[in-house]
């Protein structure tokens, strides 16, 4: 996730400060210099960085940090507050119209993720907010852009206004709006072609679409990998079609996404959503406060909780828990549990949200995910009987499963060992439950994958 390297940098600086009894003018300078470099390396705009550093400095000096006993905590708070201010603070949501379609226009440079995000927005609004959504394919320039939107819309299950490519985007938008009104859609999402800001004709076309449909929201797509120029791009779009929000795309990469901070600060336009993966569900509401927490290594527990709630059906979870408690737990249940964890998003993504666990290397993550996949392959190679009664496993069965799954016998043993551990733990839990006490250390290690 973005901002992570920045988190690492700042924590290491704070760690250095932690070792020192008090802040001096010189070590604060060093820290500010390091923060400046970290922010610049994170692609935060030069001017924003300058202002940020000055603000932190002013606040630190103004609050008489030199006499504080715990200067690192003090600085952490100041940097955190400043980052949160910079990111905008609070939450920003789409304001839906009550009695007519809410018209949303997506704009941005080529390749920023407009079409993909149009699909994700449609999915989110349809499935989570129960809106009736219509898409309009207004990118008549890029080959197969309309085809792309059609395919995505089909997977979401929403209709697309597709008038081909021999018609002006302004016309298509107009037709779409009429249709959205006549058929009582709640939301119309207009996908426009990517354009560079210096292309006057195309920028004017955007303006014309805007005049025609009078959108409630104009959302700019910004690639999390954008460099220093992102602010100029945002300004140019904002001048032509006043923006109501920004969507950061590709935040699941390792780019630090400093452009988000810059654009928010320089244009005043709030960031509303964040694209966090390639799946249709991978669009999150952008939370400035959580992002600031994240920058400072405080984790993102709320997002984790929300994700878990969405992925796991509560009833099912209760059933599974009951099964566990009764000690009737077989390999299929174990696989089921593992799949649920996988459904919540990649393991790495989840672990990163847990405070106190920021130091999982990509290699460790990959290894854990690989192990989960291997478990699945091996369990799938077993007979139903073996899955329900793992106790019957003997060497000959292990050899057969190993051959069938293309693995080694030792791999099969690992699955069975993990199963024994989990089952063992469940028995203990059951005993504790009956005795009314929880095991010491809680449920740590449940379904753990080697971290």
């Amino acid at each position: 996730m973005a901002f992570e390297a920045l988190t690492d940098k700042l924590s290491s600086i704070f760690k250095k400060l932690r070792g020192q009894a008090r802040l001096s003018e010189s070590n604060m300078d060093e820290m500010l210099k390091q923060i400046r470099i970290a922010l610049l390396e994170a692609d935060v705009n030069f001017k924003v960085v300058k202002e940020f550093i000055n603000n932190v400095k002013e606040k630190a000096i103004g609050q008489d940090v030199l006499k504080k006993l715990n200067p690192s905590q003090m600085i952490t708070k100041i940097v955190h507050d400043e980052l949160e201010t910079l990111l905008g603070g609070g939450e920003t949501e789409i304001q839906y119209q009550k009695n007519k379609p809410t018209v949303i226009m997506l704009v941005g440079l080529q390749g920023s993720g407009k079409t993909t995000t149009a699909g994700k927005l449609a999915y989110l609004m349809k499935n989570k907010l129960h809106k009736k959504v219509l898409l309009a394919a207004c990118d008549v320039y890029r080959p197969a852009a309309i085809e792309q939107l059609e395919q995505i819309a089909k997977s979401v299950g929403v209709p697309v206004i597709n008038k081909g490519t021999n018609i002006s985007p302004v016309e298509i938008a107009k037709i779409a709006k009429t249709e959205a009104f006549n058929d009582h859609y709640d939301v119309l999402i207009i996908d426009t072609a990517g354009r560079i800001t210096i292309d006057d004709d195309l920028m004017e076309e955007l303006n014309n679409i805007k005049q025609e449909v009078v959108p409630d929201e104009v959302l700019l797509l910004v690639d999390a990998m954008s460099g220093q120029d992102a602010v100029n791009v945002a300004n140019a779009f904002n001048d032509k079609t006043p923006l109501t929000g920004v969507i950061m795309s590709k935040l699941d990469g390792d780019a630090r996404g400093g452009a988000a901070l810059s654009i928010r600060h320089m244009t005043g336009v709030p960031i509303k959503f964040a694209g966090v993966g390639e799946k249709i569900t991978d669009l999150d509401i952008f939370h400035a406060d959580r992002m600031a927490d994240r920058i400072l290594g405080m984790g993102d527990v709320m997002t984790l909780v929300e994700k878990a709630q969405e992925s796991i059906d509560e009833e099912e979870a209760k059933k599974a828990a009951k099964k566990m408690m009764n000690g009737k737990f077989d390999l299929e249940d174990m696989l089921d549990q593992m799949k649920k964890v996988q459904k919540m998003g990649s393991l790495g993504g989840l672990l990163k949200m847990i405070p106190g666990m920021p130091k999982v290397t990509p290699e460790q993550q990959a290894a854990a995910e690989r192990e989960m996949r291997n478990f699945e392959i091996i369990i799938n190679s077993m007979t139903p009987e073996e899955r329900h009664n793992p106790e019957i496993f003997q060497y000959s069965r292990k050899i057969r499963v190993a051959a069938g799954s293309g693995k080694q016998v030792s791999d099969v043993n690992r699955v069975l060992k993990k199963y024994d551990q989990m089952k063992d733990m469940m028995k203990k839990m059951e005993q504790y439950r009956k005795s009314g006490k929880m095991p010491p250390g809680g449920l740590g290690g449940m379904g753990g994958f080697g971290f």
């Binding site: 390749g111 699909g119 085809e147 460099g227 220093q228 791009v233």
Partner: protein, 324 residues
């Protein structure tokens, strides 16, 4: 002769440098942001001081050159200015540009055109993160080499993104060249294999393999890329002979991380920088060259088929620095 006057004289004869005009036109906005800033700065400060160097640093960083390289270059210019007693702002600006591109040029003359195999097809694997312009660049490269009389085959190994296959298909139809596609969500490596297999049978000169955009921190997707690469070499020895990483000119410092990650998995032979006709300065190519030594092979200076040009550092500097 100073660098700027050298460039001016080199590019005074249009016929000898047919691409110079494209660079100059395509990089107009970049130039306004870079060169004009330098000029107005030197007008403001006739003699340089500490503040002047800070402003120079700002210009470099705002061009996405990167913090490390910017600091180093400024340090070097400061040093030279003291040693050679140069305090005139115009001269300092020229020194800055020379220093900035010295490293790039020091790595010597670089090849840009695809190096063709003597016998059998030459395979070009095209990789990059999402949305950088891989498919469009492939169309432009295909156009270029078709016009050079090569028999070109496209391979649509992006089986993941909706509409990707269709996008490449449209280009193949427009350019009237062959294409190999697979089913949606088919194993990209198997499509790649089918592609080179057909290329051998049809005696194709150049096979261009399009791959799905992938963020370099997605281990499983990077593994998939490694597999595609392995499969290519099964059918054609030493394939892919060329692997190009496509980078968007608007990319910030993550570009270096991208280049490193892709180089690890696919051993890149070059970088293609796209969307250079926008307002960004593409300073990331210097940072990449500095950290990895991977040369830029082509540069996208506009939307038209002909707008993909061989990368030439002199033309690039001319486009970026020489005002009309």
């Amino acid at each position: 002769m100073g660098l700027i006057s050298f460039l001016k004289s080199k590019f005074s004869k249009k016929t000898e440098n047919p691409d110079a005009e494209s660079y100059s036109k395509g990089m107009e906005k970049s130039r306004q942001n870079f060169s004009n800033k330098l000029t107005s700065l030197s007008k403001k400060y006739k003699k340089v001081n500490q503040e002047y160097f800070e402003k120079l640093e700002e210009i470099l960083i705002e061009s996405d050159v990167g913090v490390n390289l910017s600091f180093r270059v400024i340090e070097e210019v400061l040093e030279k200015s003291k040693q050679q007693k140069i305090f005139d702002s115009d001269a300092i600006n020229e020194l800055l540009i020379e220093t900035l591109f010295k490293d790039y040029m020091d790595k010597g003359e670089q090849l840009t055109e695809i190096q063709f195999n003597d016998k059998g097809p030459t395979v070009l694997l095209v990789v990059g993160v999402n949305g950088v312009g891989k498919t469009t660049t492939i169309a432009k490269l295909a156009y270029r080499y078709k016009n050079q009389g090569k028999k070109v085959l496209l391979v649509a190994a992006d089986t993941f993104r909706a509409g990707a296959k269709e996008q490449l298909q449209i280009w193949a139809d427009r350019l009237d060249i062959g294409i190999v596609t697979g089913a949606d969500n088919a194993d990209p490596a198997s499509v790649a294999y089918d592609g080179v297999h057909k290329a051998v049978i049809d005696k194709v000169d150049l096979v261009i393999v399009d791959t799905a955009g992938r963020l370099q921190n997605k281990q499983n997707l990077m593994n998939e890329l490694a597999k595609i690469k392995r499969v290519l070499s099964k059918e054609v020895e030493n394939a892919p002979q060329e692997t190009f990483l496509i980078i968007d000119a608007t990319t910030g410092q993550n570009g270096v991380i991208q280049a490193k990650a892709f180089a690890e998995v696919t051993s890149l032979t070059g970088v293609v920088i796209t969307k250079m006709d926008g307002t960004s300065k593409g300073g990331i190519i210097l940072a990449i060259r500095d950290e990895l030594g991977t040369p830029v092979r082509f540069i996208g200076l506009g939307e038209k088929m002909e707008d993909l040009k061989e990368f030439d550092i002199d033309s690039y500097l001319y486009g970026l620095c020489v005002e009309k």
